[in-house]
Amino acid sequence: MKKSYVIGGLVIILALAMAMYSFKSTLTSYVTVSEAKASNRPVQVAGVVVTGTDRYDLKNNNLLFTLREDGGDEMKVEYDGPRPGNFDNVTKVVAIGKYQPEKQTFLASELLVKCPTKYEGRVKGE
């Protein structure tokens, strides 16, 4: 019985260590546009879609738009996942990915559109 506790404990510690590693490596921090341009780690940037800049590029199958953050800084964003169904009525998007200096574009691997259910968002608006 005692030995089993040791083994079980070790397994759990190992699992937690692996989880810690995954936690650290998938962690993306919230940064500003200028910080994103300087960073070589995946980061996330929040902002609004500049009206009229979003278009769907059929040839490369990706969504392009310009993101503007609160301070007014802008950057181009390219996202090649499926266009979020509620993309057109978002008040805010969060792009997660890496900035490509050679293309001057932020390559987003994940795009969070702020869920338009008032359920969540309204608290802040009030």
């Binding site: 998938t26 993306t28 921090s29 499926p82 169904g85 994940e110 259910t117 608290v123």
Partner: protein
């Protein structure tokens, strides 16, 4: 206008306060009939008042009384009845009221079923109701506006779906139900009776597991059907918020079964009952305090109810700890005499509980990442990969356990006796493994997951059939476990083997997509009360099957002037796989003819080109405009261009490109000569130091351009295998849970 709704909630608060006080008295003076009567009547009064308040809110919504801010925010005149009803729980305040209402109604049953433990159980249960009622007063759905608007904001289109009518109530029923195991657990510690709380609590635990599970699954189903991103689970904080208590509750359910049959895990069950309840408050705090809405530094500032939520969370934690610490020496440990075997149902159940708890813990850590990282540095969130990384190995262990533990008896097991039954596990494993490999090697972990999930399906299917024949109500566990196995099969199939393609579908043209032939038969605009619905009918053909798919894009004009657009996918469900067609974009038809010829050239510095009658040389940049940068005007760069027309004297021109906030604008310069021809600077290639010039001049005969394109829409077409299996699996989990509740419900 007097605010009756608010008044009834205040009266409800008084009633629940009196009831709690009387139960406190009853705790020390058990046969005080007066106190008991007052406690019960005032609780019933609380239930009546909360019900009344709910009726007021419902009537206000149905009668369009937009003087109430809540009614104006979440409903409108044009909503059909079912969505008017669902606006009751579409917002924070209303859903809190609904939560309290569910707590009140369940409390009536609890009060009559708790028996001897009633004073303590109801006291703790009432504390929670008291807490929710205080929150309800802080966030009243009966707040009034200064002036009555003519119409309300309406209900978000995405929520206008039958599944969204029932999703929130079911979740809140689950939230309310998880209070009951907690109330019993604390009451048991209070009374120092560490075993006999299990029997009355177990059906409630299964009920809570069932209702919260149903809520989660309906949410996933809605997400798949309405949102059009093709998935059903996104590891979103809001989704995780209901998953965490559910996982802890599943562990509790297994622990209670173990305690009931084997007198084990007494302490663990107290902890789990408390944890699953505290997780509900914690997750409510996470999702409603605005902390995760965006993790900016400001979110801690809104202390509307955040402070209360934190206060109550620590309050309940303190109560739990106090009772636990003062009783812990008293709680009997499991019988030492009985032989412990690793090959037993006990061990299997404990292992399953550890896995469920680890999954809840790790998912909880991920969901709380913005909170945790804020302490050290910048608030950060983990990507969904974290949840997959951590839960995948746990899922693997889970299905491995499911493939043999249900066959084990309590105590020592004989492997030889078991091996005959394991034939079903083997059969399922081989079948599932073969099918998986036939469709492509998915990687070792996923292959093993598929194999064990198949084994779990095989074993539990056989077990379920055997038990149903013997005695139907005994099959609850087997059916639920079969569901878990099927769910994992569905998850693997749909997330590993889905195929997806984006296609452009011009009207009237047959286009191939993933083995189907699709023809867009043209858009139909349908006027709706608040906007336009654009139907995009598609004739889909494959072999002999032929059908019309109807995805659509809806636009809504909101009063605040913002247009909203929603795309709705079309799903053709099949036993093996679903065909999922989601509109990405719609392009209206174009027809224009231009009698202008356009041409672009790229020029390096000092490069000279000959074009028609012109000789054009790019001399250099003029960056004086960059210095004169004014607020809001952007940066402008000019290019010095020397042009000579038919060998005449060269002329220096300076087209300018301005890069501003609203994008780039370029000025046009007229070229020398009689023709109406212009040059503009459209782009600067900073790296190569070259420029791109745009020439616009009169067309020379054949250059006349006629552009014509039919309306087209871009669709994301996917084939998602295993979805039906997945939904069947989730249904069976709930069905099994339902049988479990029925079987254990006190007669």
């Amino acid at each position: 206008m007097n605010n009756l709704g608010e008044l009834t909630i205040w009266l409800g608060l008084i009633a629940i306060g009196i009831s709690s006080g009387c139960y406190w008295v009853l705790n020390s003076r058990e046969d005080d009939t007066l106190a008991q009567n007052v406690a019960r009547y005032s609780f019933t009064g609380f239930v009546a008042l909360i019900t009344l308040a709910s009726i007021f809110l419902m009537l206000a919504i149905l009668k369009h009384e937009f003087i109430y801010s809540y009614v104006a925010n979440y409903s409108s005149r044009d909503l059909p009845l079912q969505y008017l009803i669902s606006s009751f729980w579409a917002g924070q305040e209303g859903s809190f009221l609904f939560w309290v209402l569910m707590g009140a109604w369940l409390g009536i049953f609890l009060m009559h079923m708790a028996g001897e433990m009633e004073p303590q159980v109801m006291f703790i249960y009432n504390l929670n109701n008291l807490f929710l009622t205080i929150l309800l007063i802080k966030q009243s759905p009966f707040k009034m506006l200064a002036t009555t608007p003519a119409d309300g904001q309406g209900l978000n289109m995405l929520l206008q779906d039958p599944w969204m009518v029932i999703h929130p109530p079911v979740v809140f029923l689950g939230y309310a139900a998880f209070t009951i195991p907690f109330a019993y657990a604390i009451a048991a510690l209070w009374r120092r009776e560490y075993d006999n709380w299990i029997r009355p609590t177990l059906p409630w635990t299964v009920f809570a597991f069932l209702s919260l599970g149903a809520g989660i699954i309906i949410g996933g189903f809605w997400s798949y059907k309405v949102l059009g991103w093709g998935g059903y689970w996104g590891w979103d904080p809001v989704e995780n918020a209901s998953l965490l208590p559910w996982l802890a509750g599943a562990a509790l359910m297994h622990g209670m079964i173990l305690q009931q049959s084997r007198r084990k895990l007494r302490k663990t069950n107290f902890i789990l009952a408390a944890v699953s309840f505290l997780l509900i408050i914690y997750c409510t705090f996470l999702t409603r305090s605005g902390i995760l809405a965006d993790f900016s530094v400001h979110s801690f500032q809104d202390l509307g109810i955040t402070g209360w939520l934190v206060f109550f969370m620590f309050g309940f934690l303190a109560i739990t700890l106090w009772f636990f610490v003062t009783r812990v020496r008293d709680i009997p440990v499991a019988d030492k005499g009985a032989a412990f075997s690793y090959f037993s149902r006990e061990f299997g159940l404990m292992a399953a509980m550890i896995i469920l708890c680890l999954s809840a813990l790790l998912t909880g850590v991920g969901t709380s990442a913005p909170l945790i990282t804020r302490l050290a540095e910048k608030a950060s969130k983990v990507s969904t990969q974290f949840y997959v990384d951590t839960n995948l190995p746990l899922a693997l262990l889970m299905v491995l356990l499911l493939s043999f533990v249900p066959l084990l008896a309590w105590g020592k097991n004989d492997f030889a006796k078991l091996s005959r039954k394991l034939i079903w596990a083997l059969l399922g494993a081989v079948l599932s493994g073969t099918i998986t490999l036939y469709h492509g090697y998915p990687g070792l972990v996923l292959l093993l997951l598929a194999i064990f999930a198949g084994a779990a399906v095989g074993v539990n299917l056989h077990l379920a059939i055997t038990l149903i024949r013997k005695k139907f109500t005994m099959s609850a566990g087997a059916i639920a476990h079969l569901g878990v196995g099927l769910m994992f099969v569905g998850i693997i199939a749909s997330s590993v083997y889905d195929r997806s393609e984006k296609v452009l579908l011009p009207q009237g043209q047959m286009e191939p997509a993933l083995g189907y032939e699709m023809k867009f038969s043209g858009p139909k605009f349908i006027r709706e009360p608040k906007g336009v619905r654009l139907d995009l009918p598609l004739d889909v053909k494959k072999g002999n099957t032929q059908f019309v798919a109807q995805p659509d894009i809806r636009s809504e004009n909101r009063r605040d002037g913002q247009g909203m657009r929603f795309t709705r996918p079309h799903i053709r469900r099949g036993l093996v796989s679903d065909l999922y067609i989601s509109p990405v974009d719609f392009q209206p038809g174009k027809e224009e003819s231009r009698s202008v010829s356009r041409k672009q050239f790229e020029l390096k510095k000092q490069q000279k080109i000959q074009f028609e009658d012109y000789e054009i040389t790019f001399v250099g940049f003029d960056i004086s405009g960059m210095m004169a940068k004014k607020e809001g005007q952007g940066v402008s760069v000019g290019a010095d261009i020397v042009v000579s027309y038919k060998g005449e004297d060269p002329l220096t021109l300076k087209p300018v490109l301005t890069m501003g906030k609203e994008g780039n604008t370029s000025s046009r310069v007229k070229l020398p000569g009689p023709a109406e021809a212009y040059l503009s600077l459209t782009r600067i290639e900073a790296s190569s130091g070259s420029i791109v010039l745009d020439y616009q001049g009169p067309a020379s005969g054949q250059d006349q351009i006629v552009e014509k394109s039919p309306p087209a829409f871009i669709a994301e077409v996917s084939i998602k295998p295993g979805m039906t299996v997945l939904w069947l699996g989730t249904f069976l989990i709930l069905f099994g849970g339902g049988i479990g509740v029925a079987r254990r419900w006190p007669k």
